[in-house]
Symmetry: C2
Subunit: 225 residues, 2 copies
Amino acid sequence: MTLTCLFDINETVLDLSALDGLFTDLFGDPQSRTLWFAQTLQNAMSAELCGRHAPFETQGQAALEMIGARFGRTLTAADKQRVADALKRLPAHADVRAGLDFARAQGVRCIAFSNNARAATRAQLEYAGLSDAFADILSAEDAGASKPVTATYRQAASSLGQPAEDLWLIAVHAWDIAGAQAAGFKGALLQRRPDQVANPLAPPQVTAGTLQEAVARILAHEGRG
Amino acid sequence: MTLTCLFDINETVLDLSALDGLFTDLFGDPQSRTLWFAQTLQNAMSAELCGRHAPFETQGQAALEMIGARFGRTLTAADKQRVADALKRLPAHADVRAGLDFARAQGVRCIAFSNNARAATRAQLEYAGLSDAFADILSAEDAGASKPVTATYRQAASSLGQPAEDLWLIAVHAWDIAGAQAAGFKGALLQRRPDQVANPLAPPQVTAGTLQEAVARILAHEGRG
């Protein structure tokens, strides 16, 4: 049986802190990027709970306006375009290439699995030099619902032709782990920073400080270590 | 027709910033209270999307452990009890009494509507001296789902015996407005602080800087101003 790991992309594989300078420029506050991504997530989750799905990029643009209102800045169309463009030019975290190379050397099938649209994710991975590292790119758009809606993970399992029980999700976000587990996946929480913490109501099967360590612990958990 | 307004409680009626000192004491960071409440909301939303509802108080306790992990502090049972106790002893925001008195003088039926359990909300309102101000206390526990799940608002409308179209929700949270609107309510966004911003994908019917202003704008919107 092929061991398949799905990798969350934004923040897990790609380093959103590369946007901090742009956000400070736009909003005058170095915390605005973090606030924006949290707002995007809250918008997306809230919309799903209201039965009003919109693409993740749309939620991100709405969140941008909200952060603008918060800091008293009105964004121009050009400002919004700068953010959209910058989102496609994010570097990978420093441990990502080694982690993905290790996974593939161990026979792990690596799949990108993002709330972003597939085309946007493809552009992101190309810029980050990771196009070769993933066997496929899956998007929440396939299910018409954002992670952590259970159907989004089920759709991913279905399109991979593997039972959810054989799949792992690797992410820095506890809510993504929770979503994957609710669909039958196992979850590996990557903890590069102190704010990447486990939810005690949905504890991950493994935790690790780097992507390579996460993959090694998954292999050990599966009796292949 | 009686005009009925439902009031969100935590942050909208009650001032959570009264917890800042306790949280700084527990976690060593003055931002920890804000982070905790945001984490509680994220946990609650994520759990609903995963089909794993838990009471809001349970989500809050899990979030407390997560904030502890983030700041490298292990909380004792006594620490957790201090937070639980403090949550029942929150003051009302300065504009609340005048706003509720104005609403009642205008013939508005005022209903408390919280994600907290009813008993907890009752204790909160008694401590804040607001027991007399609300005709009833509704809780998300009645629907077995947290706001902003649509069913939670529908359950509230049903228990009030009024069609959703005749109901208003007043809240400082855009996600609560969005949830109410998805169920057919109208929404009034209270903006006391710059971070209480509207979501352009779910714009409120009215916005206001104080509770009295919110009620006045609702009355005007209903042609009763």
